[in-house]
Protein backbone atom coordinates (compact mmCIF):
# COMPACT_ATOMS: atom_id res chain seq x y z
CA UNK A 1 0.00 0.00 0.00
CA UNK A 2 1.45 3.29 -1.10
CA UNK A 3 1.17 6.41 1.00
CA UNK A 4 -1.79 8.52 -0.07
CA UNK A 5 0.29 11.49 -1.12
CA UNK A 6 2.04 9.49 -3.79
CA UNK A 7 -1.06 7.96 -5.33
CA UNK A 8 -1.75 9.25 -8.82
CA UNK A 9 -5.33 9.61 -10.06
CA UNK A 10 -4.67 6.79 -12.50
CA UNK A 11 -4.12 4.34 -9.70
CA UNK A 12 -7.32 5.29 -7.98
CA UNK A 13 -9.44 2.21 -7.31
CA UNK A 14 -13.15 2.94 -6.83
CA UNK A 15 -14.93 0.67 -4.40
CA UNK A 16 -16.28 -2.55 -5.86
CA UNK A 17 -19.44 -2.21 -3.84
CA UNK A 18 -20.15 1.08 -5.55
CA UNK A 19 -19.40 -0.27 -9.01
CA UNK A 20 -21.60 -3.31 -8.59
CA UNK A 21 -24.50 -1.91 -6.62
CA UNK A 22 -24.98 1.58 -7.94
CA UNK A 23 -26.59 0.58 -11.26
CA UNK A 24 -28.82 -1.88 -9.43
CA UNK A 25 -29.74 0.68 -6.79
CA UNK A 26 -30.44 3.33 -9.40
CA UNK A 27 -32.81 1.05 -11.30
CA UNK A 28 -34.55 -0.03 -8.09
CA UNK A 29 -35.03 3.57 -7.04
CA UNK A 30 -36.34 4.50 -10.48
CA UNK A 31 -38.78 1.58 -10.28
CA UNK A 32 -40.16 2.97 -7.05
CA UNK A 33 -40.68 6.49 -8.39
CA UNK A 34 -43.94 5.95 -10.30
CA UNK A 35 -45.86 5.19 -7.11
CA UNK A 36 -44.65 8.20 -5.21
CA UNK A 37 -46.22 11.45 -6.25
CA UNK A 38 -49.94 11.30 -6.94
CA UNK A 39 -52.96 9.10 -7.03
CA UNK A 40 -53.27 8.98 -10.77
CA UNK A 41 -56.53 8.82 -12.65
CA UNK A 42 -54.91 8.01 -15.96
CA UNK A 43 -51.74 6.16 -16.91
CA UNK A 44 -49.25 8.94 -17.53
CA UNK A 45 -46.22 8.09 -15.45
CA UNK A 46 -43.39 6.85 -17.68
CA UNK A 47 -41.90 3.47 -16.75
CA UNK A 48 -38.82 5.01 -15.17
CA UNK A 49 -37.39 1.72 -13.93
CA UNK A 50 -37.44 0.26 -17.41
CA UNK A 51 -35.97 3.42 -18.90
CA UNK A 52 -33.12 3.41 -16.38
CA UNK A 53 -32.51 -0.29 -16.99
CA UNK A 54 -32.28 0.20 -20.75
CA UNK A 55 -30.12 3.30 -20.29
CA UNK A 56 -27.51 1.35 -18.33
CA UNK A 57 -27.53 -1.30 -21.00
CA UNK A 58 -27.02 1.27 -23.75
CA UNK A 59 -24.22 2.92 -21.78
CA UNK A 60 -22.38 -0.27 -20.83
CA UNK A 61 -22.74 -3.27 -23.03
CA UNK A 62 -21.93 -5.87 -20.41
CA UNK A 63 -23.26 -4.31 -17.29
CA UNK A 64 -26.13 -6.71 -16.69
CA UNK A 65 -26.04 -10.42 -16.14
CA UNK A 66 -28.31 -12.20 -18.60
CA UNK A 67 -30.82 -12.73 -15.81
CA UNK A 68 -30.76 -9.14 -14.56
CA UNK A 69 -33.89 -8.30 -16.58
CA UNK A 70 -35.88 -10.98 -14.81
CA UNK A 71 -34.61 -10.06 -11.33
CA UNK A 72 -35.00 -6.30 -11.62
CA UNK A 73 -38.24 -6.74 -13.55
CA UNK A 74 -39.67 -8.75 -10.68
CA UNK A 75 -38.74 -5.94 -8.34
CA UNK A 76 -40.35 -3.41 -10.68
CA UNK A 77 -43.55 -5.45 -10.67
CA UNK A 78 -43.87 -4.79 -6.93
CA UNK A 79 -44.37 -1.13 -7.64
CA UNK A 80 -45.67 -0.60 -11.15
CA UNK A 81 -49.20 -1.94 -10.63
CA UNK A 82 -48.84 -4.33 -13.52
CA UNK A 83 -49.47 -7.95 -12.76
CA UNK A 84 -46.50 -9.71 -11.21
CA UNK A 85 -44.48 -11.18 -14.03
CA UNK A 86 -45.18 -8.46 -16.58
CA UNK A 87 -41.95 -6.53 -16.21
CA UNK A 88 -40.07 -9.70 -15.34
CA UNK A 89 -40.98 -11.06 -18.75
CA UNK A 90 -40.75 -7.87 -20.78
CA UNK A 91 -37.48 -6.59 -19.30
CA UNK A 92 -35.81 -9.90 -20.14
CA UNK A 93 -37.21 -9.77 -23.65
CA UNK A 94 -36.00 -6.17 -24.03
CA UNK A 95 -32.56 -7.16 -22.77
CA UNK A 96 -32.30 -9.94 -25.33
CA UNK A 97 -33.69 -7.59 -27.99
CA UNK A 98 -30.97 -5.01 -27.36
CA UNK A 99 -28.35 -7.78 -27.42
CA UNK A 100 -29.63 -8.92 -30.81
CA UNK A 101 -29.59 -5.36 -32.14
CA UNK A 102 -26.02 -5.02 -30.91
CA UNK A 103 -24.94 -7.90 -33.11
CA UNK A 104 -26.51 -6.28 -36.18
CA UNK A 105 -25.34 -2.74 -35.63
CA UNK A 106 -21.84 -1.69 -36.55
CA UNK A 107 -21.84 1.53 -34.60
CA UNK A 108 -24.06 3.38 -32.24
CA UNK A 109 -24.70 7.02 -31.57
CA UNK A 110 -27.03 9.27 -29.64
CA UNK A 111 -29.89 9.10 -32.15
CA UNK A 112 -29.66 5.40 -32.59
CA UNK A 113 -29.67 4.86 -28.85
CA UNK A 114 -32.70 7.04 -28.51
CA UNK A 115 -34.51 5.28 -31.34
CA UNK A 116 -33.69 1.88 -29.91
CA UNK A 117 -35.00 2.96 -26.53
CA UNK A 118 -38.10 4.49 -28.16
CA UNK A 119 -38.92 1.25 -29.93
CA UNK A 120 -38.32 -0.56 -26.68
CA UNK A 121 -40.68 1.78 -24.83
CA UNK A 122 -43.46 1.49 -27.41
CA UNK A 123 -43.13 -2.28 -27.35
CA UNK A 124 -42.89 -2.48 -23.58
CA UNK A 125 -45.89 -0.26 -22.84
CA UNK A 126 -48.03 -1.84 -25.57
CA UNK A 127 -47.29 -5.38 -24.42
CA UNK A 128 -47.83 -4.41 -20.78
CA UNK A 129 -51.21 -2.98 -21.81
CA UNK A 130 -51.98 -6.14 -23.73
CA UNK A 131 -51.24 -8.25 -20.65
CA UNK A 132 -53.29 -5.93 -18.44
CA UNK A 133 -56.20 -6.17 -20.83
CA UNK A 134 -55.96 -9.95 -21.05
CA UNK A 135 -56.19 -10.00 -17.25
CA UNK A 136 -59.34 -7.95 -16.87
CA UNK A 137 -58.78 -4.42 -18.14
CA UNK A 138 -60.39 -2.89 -21.18
CA UNK A 139 -58.20 0.09 -21.90
CA UNK A 140 -57.92 1.26 -25.49
CA UNK A 141 -54.44 1.54 -26.90
CA UNK A 142 -54.99 5.21 -27.66
CA UNK A 143 -55.19 5.90 -23.93
CA UNK A 144 -51.52 5.15 -23.37
CA UNK A 145 -50.30 7.29 -26.27
CA UNK A 146 -49.56 10.27 -23.98
CA UNK A 147 -47.64 8.00 -21.63
CA UNK A 148 -45.61 6.57 -24.51
CA UNK A 149 -44.80 10.06 -25.81
CA UNK A 150 -43.78 11.33 -22.38
CA UNK A 151 -41.57 8.29 -21.91
CA UNK A 152 -39.88 8.67 -25.30
CA UNK A 153 -39.23 12.37 -24.76
CA UNK A 154 -37.81 11.71 -21.30
CA UNK A 155 -35.53 8.89 -22.40
CA UNK A 156 -32.51 11.10 -23.34
CA UNK A 157 -32.68 12.72 -19.92
CA UNK A 158 -32.73 9.35 -18.23
CA UNK A 159 -29.68 8.32 -20.25
CA UNK A 160 -27.98 11.57 -19.24
CA UNK A 161 -28.90 10.96 -15.61
CA UNK A 162 -27.51 7.45 -15.87
CA UNK A 163 -24.31 8.96 -17.25
CA UNK A 164 -23.99 11.25 -14.22
CA UNK A 165 -24.53 8.31 -11.88
CA UNK A 166 -21.94 6.38 -13.85
CA UNK A 167 -19.35 9.12 -13.37
CA UNK A 168 -20.11 9.14 -9.68
CA UNK A 169 -19.88 5.37 -9.62
CA UNK A 170 -16.25 5.34 -10.64
CA UNK A 171 -15.21 8.28 -8.49
Amino acid sequence: MKPIARRSPFEHQPSTVKIVWMPIGAVMLASMLPIMPVIATAPLMPPLGFMMFISWRLLHREIWHPWAGAALGLYDDFWSGHHIGTAMLLWSVAQFGVALMDRRMLWRDYWQDWMLAAFGLVGYLSLALLIDNKLGGQTLWIMIVPQVLVAILLQPYVIRMTGYIDVWRFR
Binding site: M32, P37, M88, D102, L129, D132, L140, M143, I144
Partner: protein, 302 residues
Protein backbone atom coordinates in the same frame (compact mmCIF):
# COMPACT_ATOMS: atom_id res chain seq x y z
CA UNK B 1 -19.82 4.46 -28.01
CA UNK B 2 -19.92 1.16 -26.24
CA UNK B 3 -16.91 -1.11 -26.68
CA UNK B 4 -17.31 -4.11 -28.97
CA UNK B 5 -18.92 -7.12 -27.41
CA UNK B 6 -16.86 -10.05 -26.38
CA UNK B 7 -19.21 -12.91 -26.82
CA UNK B 8 -16.83 -15.28 -25.09
CA UNK B 9 -15.58 -14.19 -21.73
CA UNK B 10 -12.02 -15.31 -22.50
CA UNK B 11 -10.51 -18.76 -22.34
CA UNK B 12 -11.47 -19.45 -18.77
CA UNK B 13 -13.79 -22.42 -18.66
CA UNK B 14 -15.18 -21.18 -15.39
CA UNK B 15 -16.16 -17.83 -16.87
CA UNK B 16 -17.70 -19.50 -19.91
CA UNK B 17 -19.78 -21.84 -17.78
CA UNK B 18 -20.72 -18.89 -15.60
CA UNK B 19 -22.11 -17.05 -18.61
CA UNK B 20 -23.91 -20.15 -19.80
CA UNK B 21 -25.52 -20.65 -16.40
CA UNK B 22 -26.46 -16.97 -16.45
CA UNK B 23 -28.37 -17.48 -19.68
CA UNK B 24 -30.10 -20.55 -18.29
CA UNK B 25 -31.20 -18.55 -15.25
CA UNK B 26 -32.43 -15.79 -17.56
CA UNK B 27 -34.53 -18.21 -19.60
CA UNK B 28 -35.87 -19.73 -16.39
CA UNK B 29 -36.75 -16.23 -15.21
CA UNK B 30 -38.71 -15.60 -18.39
CA UNK B 31 -40.55 -18.90 -17.96
CA UNK B 32 -41.36 -18.13 -14.32
CA UNK B 33 -42.66 -14.71 -15.37
CA UNK B 34 -44.87 -16.27 -18.02
CA UNK B 35 -46.08 -18.78 -15.44
CA UNK B 36 -46.89 -15.99 -12.98
CA UNK B 37 -48.97 -14.24 -15.62
CA UNK B 38 -50.78 -17.45 -16.48
CA UNK B 39 -51.58 -17.98 -12.79
CA UNK B 40 -52.93 -14.46 -12.65
CA UNK B 41 -55.38 -15.57 -15.32
CA UNK B 42 -56.18 -19.04 -14.00
CA UNK B 43 -55.81 -18.59 -10.24
CA UNK B 44 -56.39 -14.93 -9.40
CA UNK B 45 -56.65 -15.71 -5.68
CA UNK B 46 -53.17 -17.12 -5.34
CA UNK B 47 -51.79 -14.34 -7.48
CA UNK B 48 -53.54 -11.75 -5.36
CA UNK B 49 -52.10 -13.23 -2.18
CA UNK B 50 -48.64 -12.60 -3.55
CA UNK B 51 -49.53 -9.09 -4.61
CA UNK B 52 -51.08 -8.17 -1.28
CA UNK B 53 -47.99 -9.38 0.56
CA UNK B 54 -45.91 -7.11 -1.63
CA UNK B 55 -48.39 -4.31 -1.03
CA UNK B 56 -47.78 -4.67 2.70
CA UNK B 57 -44.06 -4.45 2.17
CA UNK B 58 -44.40 -1.38 -0.02
CA UNK B 59 -46.93 0.55 2.04
CA UNK B 60 -44.56 2.18 4.60
CA UNK B 61 -42.34 3.42 1.78
CA UNK B 62 -45.12 4.86 -0.31
CA UNK B 63 -46.82 6.28 2.77
CA UNK B 64 -43.69 8.25 3.64
CA UNK B 65 -43.05 9.12 0.03
CA UNK B 66 -46.53 10.47 -0.49
CA UNK B 67 -46.33 12.85 2.42
CA UNK B 68 -43.00 14.15 1.16
CA UNK B 69 -44.06 14.56 -2.42
CA UNK B 70 -47.46 16.06 -1.64
CA UNK B 71 -45.96 19.54 -1.63
CA UNK B 72 -44.32 18.98 -5.00
CA UNK B 73 -47.46 17.66 -6.65
CA UNK B 74 -49.34 20.61 -5.18
CA UNK B 75 -47.04 22.93 -7.07
CA UNK B 76 -47.71 21.00 -10.26
CA UNK B 77 -51.46 21.21 -9.75
CA UNK B 78 -51.15 24.93 -9.08
CA UNK B 79 -49.31 25.50 -12.34
CA UNK B 80 -51.78 23.34 -14.25
CA UNK B 81 -54.70 25.21 -12.72
CA UNK B 82 -53.14 28.51 -13.79
CA UNK B 83 -52.63 27.34 -17.36
CA UNK B 84 -56.28 26.55 -18.02
CA UNK B 85 -57.74 29.09 -15.62
CA UNK B 86 -59.77 30.85 -18.31
CA UNK B 87 -61.60 27.88 -19.70
CA UNK B 88 -62.01 26.45 -16.24
CA UNK B 89 -63.53 29.71 -15.04
CA UNK B 90 -66.12 29.64 -17.81
CA UNK B 91 -66.91 26.01 -17.16
CA UNK B 92 -67.19 26.64 -13.44
CA UNK B 93 -69.54 29.57 -13.94
CA UNK B 94 -71.79 27.43 -16.10
CA UNK B 95 -71.59 24.69 -13.52
CA UNK B 96 -72.53 27.03 -10.68
CA UNK B 97 -75.64 28.07 -12.59
CA UNK B 98 -76.56 24.48 -13.26
CA UNK B 99 -75.82 23.51 -9.68
CA UNK B 100 -78.09 26.15 -8.23
CA UNK B 101 -81.12 24.71 -9.95
CA UNK B 102 -79.92 21.21 -9.18
CA UNK B 103 -79.62 22.10 -5.51
CA UNK B 104 -83.27 23.05 -5.38
CA UNK B 105 -84.17 19.89 -7.26
CA UNK B 106 -82.10 17.94 -4.82
CA UNK B 107 -83.75 19.45 -1.80
CA UNK B 108 -87.12 18.62 -3.23
CA UNK B 109 -86.00 15.12 -3.99
CA UNK B 110 -84.64 14.65 -0.49
CA UNK B 111 -87.91 15.69 1.07
CA UNK B 112 -89.87 13.46 -1.23
CA UNK B 113 -87.44 10.64 -0.65
CA UNK B 114 -87.76 10.86 3.11
CA UNK B 115 -91.52 10.85 2.79
CA UNK B 116 -91.56 7.84 0.46
CA UNK B 117 -89.08 5.93 2.59
CA UNK B 118 -91.15 6.48 5.67
CA UNK B 119 -94.13 5.35 3.66
CA UNK B 120 -92.56 2.15 2.41
CA UNK B 121 -90.53 1.52 5.56
CA UNK B 122 -87.51 0.71 3.55
CA UNK B 123 -84.82 -0.32 5.95
CA UNK B 124 -81.78 1.87 5.67
CA UNK B 125 -78.85 -0.26 4.69
CA UNK B 126 -76.87 -1.04 7.82
CA UNK B 127 -73.48 0.24 6.84
CA UNK B 128 -71.94 -0.75 10.13
CA UNK B 129 -68.72 0.73 11.40
CA UNK B 130 -66.75 2.45 8.71
CA UNK B 131 -63.00 2.47 8.52
CA UNK B 132 -61.20 5.66 7.61
CA UNK B 133 -58.07 5.00 5.62
CA UNK B 134 -55.43 7.06 3.90
CA UNK B 135 -54.82 6.64 0.20
CA UNK B 136 -51.09 6.20 -0.04
CA UNK B 137 -50.31 5.37 -3.60
CA UNK B 138 -51.65 4.39 -6.95
CA UNK B 139 -50.34 2.81 -10.06
CA UNK B 140 -49.67 5.68 -12.41
CA UNK B 141 -47.64 3.54 -14.73
CA UNK B 142 -50.01 0.70 -15.42
CA UNK B 143 -53.17 0.98 -17.49
CA UNK B 144 -55.16 -0.51 -14.62
CA UNK B 145 -56.31 1.86 -11.91
CA UNK B 146 -55.47 0.55 -8.48
CA UNK B 147 -54.86 2.61 -5.38
CA UNK B 148 -53.43 1.48 -2.07
CA UNK B 149 -54.79 2.40 1.35
CA UNK B 150 -52.95 2.06 4.64
CA UNK B 151 -55.47 -0.22 6.34
CA UNK B 152 -55.64 -3.97 5.92
CA UNK B 153 -57.13 -7.09 7.43
CA UNK B 154 -55.72 -6.20 10.85
CA UNK B 155 -57.98 -3.16 10.88
CA UNK B 156 -60.92 -5.12 9.53
CA UNK B 157 -60.80 -4.32 5.85
CA UNK B 158 -62.07 -7.16 3.68
CA UNK B 159 -62.22 -7.87 -0.03
CA UNK B 160 -65.35 -6.58 -1.75
CA UNK B 161 -66.00 -3.66 0.56
CA UNK B 162 -66.96 -0.40 -1.11
CA UNK B 163 -64.77 2.63 -0.60
CA UNK B 164 -66.07 6.17 -0.70
CA UNK B 165 -64.78 9.64 -0.10
CA UNK B 166 -66.83 12.57 1.18
CA UNK B 167 -67.36 13.65 -2.45
CA UNK B 168 -68.45 10.35 -3.86
CA UNK B 169 -67.65 6.78 -4.73
CA UNK B 170 -63.99 5.74 -5.02
CA UNK B 171 -64.10 2.04 -5.77
CA UNK B 172 -63.99 -1.26 -3.96
CA UNK B 173 -61.37 -3.39 -2.24
CA UNK B 174 -59.93 -6.10 -4.46
CA UNK B 175 -57.15 -7.43 -2.28
CA UNK B 176 -56.07 -7.06 1.28
CA UNK B 177 -52.78 -7.42 3.03
CA UNK B 178 -52.24 -7.21 6.76
CA UNK B 179 -51.61 -3.46 6.83
CA UNK B 180 -52.59 -2.36 3.34
CA UNK B 181 -55.31 -3.00 0.83
CA UNK B 182 -55.76 -2.33 -2.83
CA UNK B 183 -58.75 -0.51 -4.24
CA UNK B 184 -59.96 -0.97 -7.76
CA UNK B 185 -60.90 2.60 -8.61
CA UNK B 186 -64.11 3.34 -10.49
CA UNK B 187 -61.98 4.88 -13.24
CA UNK B 188 -60.55 1.43 -14.01
CA UNK B 189 -61.75 0.00 -17.29
CA UNK B 190 -62.56 -3.31 -15.63
CA UNK B 191 -64.79 -1.83 -12.91
CA UNK B 192 -68.51 -1.58 -13.59
CA UNK B 193 -70.74 0.40 -11.24
CA UNK B 194 -74.53 0.16 -11.43
CA UNK B 195 -75.91 3.69 -11.21
CA UNK B 196 -79.14 5.60 -11.66
CA UNK B 197 -79.85 9.14 -12.75
CA UNK B 198 -80.84 11.37 -9.86
CA UNK B 199 -83.61 13.15 -11.73
CA UNK B 200 -85.66 10.17 -12.90
CA UNK B 201 -83.93 7.04 -11.61
CA UNK B 202 -83.05 5.73 -15.06
CA UNK B 203 -80.70 2.78 -14.56
CA UNK B 204 -77.28 2.80 -16.13
CA UNK B 205 -73.80 1.40 -15.78
CA UNK B 206 -70.60 3.32 -15.43
CA UNK B 207 -67.16 1.98 -16.14
CA UNK B 208 -63.76 3.55 -16.47
CA UNK B 209 -62.80 4.97 -19.81
CA UNK B 210 -59.05 4.68 -19.37
CA UNK B 211 -58.37 8.39 -19.26
CA UNK B 212 -59.89 9.19 -15.89
CA UNK B 213 -63.42 9.73 -17.16
CA UNK B 214 -66.27 7.26 -16.82
CA UNK B 215 -68.28 5.87 -19.70
CA UNK B 216 -72.02 5.86 -19.08
CA UNK B 217 -74.19 3.12 -20.58
CA UNK B 218 -77.93 3.20 -20.14
CA UNK B 219 -79.46 -0.17 -19.40
CA UNK B 220 -82.18 0.36 -21.98
CA UNK B 221 -81.29 2.55 -24.90
CA UNK B 222 -84.74 4.10 -25.18
CA UNK B 223 -84.83 5.29 -21.61
CA UNK B 224 -84.16 8.90 -22.48
CA UNK B 225 -81.02 10.48 -23.82
CA UNK B 226 -78.24 11.47 -21.49
CA UNK B 227 -77.66 15.19 -21.23
CA UNK B 228 -74.65 17.12 -20.14
CA UNK B 229 -74.88 17.76 -16.42
CA UNK B 230 -76.84 14.63 -15.58
CA UNK B 231 -75.83 13.40 -12.15
CA UNK B 232 -75.58 9.69 -11.43
CA UNK B 233 -75.58 8.00 -8.03
CA UNK B 234 -75.13 4.36 -7.14
CA UNK B 235 -78.34 2.38 -7.46
CA UNK B 236 -77.43 -0.45 -5.11
CA UNK B 237 -78.30 -3.00 -7.77
CA UNK B 238 -76.28 -6.17 -7.48
CA UNK B 239 -74.96 -5.35 -4.05
CA UNK B 240 -71.48 -4.13 -3.02
CA UNK B 241 -72.11 -0.41 -3.47
CA UNK B 242 -74.79 1.02 -1.16
CA UNK B 243 -77.39 3.07 -3.03
CA UNK B 244 -77.24 6.83 -3.11
CA UNK B 245 -73.51 7.49 -3.24
CA UNK B 246 -72.74 10.19 -5.83
CA UNK B 247 -70.64 8.77 -8.64
CA UNK B 248 -70.25 11.25 -11.46
CA UNK B 249 -71.64 14.06 -13.54
CA UNK B 250 -71.88 13.82 -17.33
CA UNK B 251 -69.45 16.20 -18.98
CA UNK B 252 -69.12 14.95 -22.54
CA UNK B 253 -71.89 13.72 -24.81
CA UNK B 254 -70.89 12.77 -28.33
CA UNK B 255 -71.47 10.07 -30.90
CA UNK B 256 -69.47 7.54 -28.92
CA UNK B 257 -71.79 7.93 -25.96
CA UNK B 258 -71.74 9.87 -22.75
CA UNK B 259 -68.82 10.27 -20.44
CA UNK B 260 -68.86 11.47 -16.89
CA UNK B 261 -66.39 13.01 -14.50
CA UNK B 262 -66.17 11.24 -11.16
CA UNK B 263 -67.04 13.38 -8.13
CA UNK B 264 -64.29 11.82 -6.07
CA UNK B 265 -60.93 12.56 -7.63
CA UNK B 266 -58.53 10.21 -5.87
CA UNK B 267 -55.77 12.75 -6.31
CA UNK B 268 -57.44 15.39 -4.18
CA UNK B 269 -58.55 13.69 -1.00
CA UNK B 270 -56.44 11.95 1.59
CA UNK B 271 -58.98 9.93 3.50
CA UNK B 272 -61.40 7.42 2.18
CA UNK B 273 -64.05 5.50 4.04
CA UNK B 274 -64.22 1.75 3.74
CA UNK B 275 -67.81 0.61 4.24
CA UNK B 276 -69.43 -2.74 4.69
CA UNK B 277 -70.66 -4.18 1.42
CA UNK B 278 -74.28 -3.46 0.68
CA UNK B 279 -76.49 -6.53 0.60
CA UNK B 280 -79.60 -6.22 -1.43
CA UNK B 281 -82.50 -6.79 0.98
CA UNK B 282 -84.30 -10.04 0.31
CA UNK B 283 -88.00 -10.04 -0.43
CA UNK B 284 -90.39 -10.40 2.50
CA UNK B 285 -89.94 -13.85 4.07
CA UNK B 286 -93.64 -14.42 4.85
CA UNK B 287 -94.41 -15.79 1.41
CA UNK B 288 -91.54 -18.23 1.59
CA UNK B 289 -92.66 -19.56 4.97
CA UNK B 290 -95.99 -20.62 3.54
CA UNK B 291 -94.33 -22.82 0.95
CA UNK B 292 -92.49 -25.72 2.76
CA UNK B 293 -94.34 -29.01 2.64
CA UNK B 294 -93.24 -30.19 6.08
CA UNK B 295 -95.32 -27.54 7.77
CA UNK B 296 -98.37 -28.46 5.77
CA UNK B 297 -98.03 -32.12 6.76
CA UNK B 298 -97.70 -31.18 10.39
CA UNK B 299 -100.79 -29.09 10.06
CA UNK B 300 -102.62 -32.07 8.58
CA UNK B 301 -101.39 -34.35 11.34
CA UNK B 302 -102.64 -31.96 13.95
Amino acid sequence: MAPPASRRPGFSRRAQYGLFVGYIIAVLGVLVAALLLVTARLDPKGHNALRSFLGDVASPFSSAGRSVVRGVSGVGAGVAAYVDAGSKNRALKAEVGANRTKLIDGQNARLENARLKALLRIAQSETGPMIAARLISSTGESSRRYATIDKGTLQGVAVGEPVRAPDGLVGHIVQTGAISAQILLISDTGNVVPVKRTTDGVAAFMSGDGDGLLAVHLVSAGAGAIKKGDVFVTSGAGGIYPPGIPVGVVTVVDRDGARARAFADPGTFDFALVQKPFIVPLPEPTEIKAKPKAKKKRAVAE
